[in-house]
């Protein structure tokens, strides 16, 4: 009896610890997005993107604590409308844990909050890259408040919070759709209202390159994200403390890694064949697209299947980047392609290896999430535009946002 209790306590401790470390790795992804984005913008907008990133992460944590988490995991009777409540506290008692059985908690609730909160931040980070170099700082922060408090949590409730998408069989392991495509949808809405950076598209239809200022930082960012993704996907198994869970987590780690590798190689080769050069930024986007693609179902494929999924994702991202440019949708870091297009692909790729997923479930999930996030975001961006504007003036854009928004330079001596 006491032995059983001790084992239950130990399991609880291991699963909690696993959760916390996974969450810490996902938190680390915030640094990845920051470095990636600060490397891909021009130096005159670098301080601003740094402020935006550390600010949005902080806002995400606060808003999700205040209301978002409760919305997402509310005990609402309705599978569509969650209930509203505030703040999170308290944790499981020893008694509840050692009671054992199906319903006994097997990890700390606070560790669950910690793991969930960093996911919101990820979704929000996706947006900052797409609207970079032209969106007002404080308008962006305002949107972050709404996104993290309401927009993201509501659709999170529908799927992971046991709402109607869950009931309809939508299968999205760690959130290719729920996190990545959702972030991309909000970004797309913002970008459409915002317009492209000045000079990106010529009046004659030409597409101009606006090279990012610091490629090593962008590369570092991708490595950080790659590492963080082990927490993102690995932690989403939600349990590690028995043989089957441990095997599953191992499979997820290995698949996550190989999908990213496939994305890199596929993007590099594809770019080389199509355009003749080994484009670093495409390789970086390829890695991320591989990661996003596998995220909806990293547990069911074999490593070889994961390799294929990641590779296809890498190619899709490259095509999407080229395509969006043709549509004059300006996304300085490729966030919409990497998280949106590859995210959609990822959700559909689940059908290949997971017999439990259904085409209708996946399509409805994608449609609902996109419609909700895109629609509400568009409305919120529009309201903010009305209230305080979302775009900096042409002169500010020319001089750089660092000067006007932050009053300092990123590299004052160079």
């Amino acid at each position: 009896m006491e032995t059983t209790a001790q084992i239950l306590e130990l399991s609880y401790a291991l699963d909690t610890f696993y959760f916390l470390l996974s969450g810490a790795l996902v938190m680390w992804m915030a640094a990845g997005f920051t470095m990636l984005e600060s490397g891909m913008v021009r130096s005159k907008n670098t301080v601003e993107i740094l402020v935006k990133n550390i600010g949005l992460y902080s806002i995400a944590c606060i808003m999700y604590l205040l209301v978002g988490y409760n919305i997402m995991y509310s005990d609402s009777a309705s599978s569509i409308i969650p209930t509203l409540s505030f703040l999170v506290s308290g944790d499981n008692s020893v008694e509840a844990v050692i009671a054992g059985g199906e319903d006994a908690p097997y990890y700390s609730d606070i560790s669950d909050f910690f793991f969930q909160v960093v996911f919101v931040a990820t979704a929000m980070s996706i947006i900052s890259g797409a609207v970079a170099e032209r969106m007002k700082l404080w308008s962006f922060f305002l949107f972050a408040v709404v996104m993290c408090a309401v927009i993201y949590p509501v659709q999170g409730y529908w799927s992971w919070g046991e709402g109607f998408l869950d009931d309809l069989g939508y299968s999205d392991y760690a959130g290719s759709g729920i996190v990545h495509m959702a972030g991309a949808a909000a970004a797309l809405a913002g970008v459409l209202l915002l317009g492209p950076r000045k000079g990106k598209y010529g009046p004659d239809g030409s597409i101009n390159a606006i090279p990012g200022a610091n490629m090593p930082l962008a590369t570092l960012g991708v490595f950080v994200l790659w590492l963080g993704w082990f927490g993102f996907n690995g932690g989403s198994e939600l349990k590690v403390s028995d043989v089957e869970s441990a095997n599953a987590v191992a499979q997820v780690f290995a698949n996550t890694n190989i999908a990213a590798a496939g994305g890199v190689v596929a993007a590099l080769l594809f770019n080389r064949l199509l355009l003749g050069k080994a484009d670093l930024t495409m390789a970086l986007n390829g890695a991320l697209a591989g990661l996003v693609s596998i995220t909806a179902g990293p547990d069911t494929p074999t490593m070889f299947q994961a390799l294929i999924i990641g590779s296809v994702g890498g190619v899709i991202a490259v095509l999407s980047i080229l395509g969006l440019d043709r549509l004059r949708i300006d996304d300085p870091v490729g966030a919409i392609s990497v998280h949106g297009t590859a995210g959609i692909f990822g959700v559909l790729a689940v059908l290949w290896t997971n017999p439990d997923a259904t085409l209708s479930g996946q399509l409805i999930g994608l449609g609902v999430i996109f419609a909700w996030v895109f629609g509400v975001s568009l409305a919120v961006w529009a309201l903010i535009k009305l209230a305080m504007g979302i775009r900096i003036s042409e002169e500010e854009e020319y001089g750089g946002m660092d000067q006007t928004e932050c009053g300092m330079e990123a590299y004052p001596e160079f």
């Binding site: 597409i207 101009n208 003749g276 050069k277 495409m282």
Partner: protein
């Protein structure tokens, strides 16, 4: 006195400085510049969008010399900075009315 301005290929700097020292030049000032001329630039590619880089890195040397040194200095530059390939650069000679050494106030050729 004359002011000689030379636009050269960057990798020629060290050789040229040595040669000029031997030719009696005690000082010069170098600026990193971008040159546009007959020499073609190259095309770069960033995320699928091509762009031409027409301005090539060059160095500009400014050398104040006494009138009698002009010919030998020009000669030296022309020989040492020459690779025979397009884009080797130019030498321009301007008249220099006065020159002053800040430290001492010396004027004219003494200041060089």
């Amino acid at each position: 006195m004359k002011l000689i301005i030379a636009i050269i290929k960057p990798f020629k700097l060290d050789d040229l400085r040595d040669a000029l020292s031997k030719a009696g030049v005690h000082g010069l000032t170098v600026t990193e510049v971008k040159g546009f001329g007959r020499q073609k630039g190259h095309t770069e590619l960033y995320r699928g969008a091509e762009y031409r880089v027409d301005f090539l890195p060059k160095l500009k040397l400014e050398i104040a010399v006494a009138a009698e040194q002009v010919d030998s200095v020009v000669e030296t530059i022309q020989q040492v900075a020459n690779t025979g390939k397009i884009g080797d650069g130019k030498i321009f000679v301007l008249d220099l009315l006065e020159s002053i050494r800040i430290r001492t106030g010396e004027r004219g050729s003494d200041a060089l």
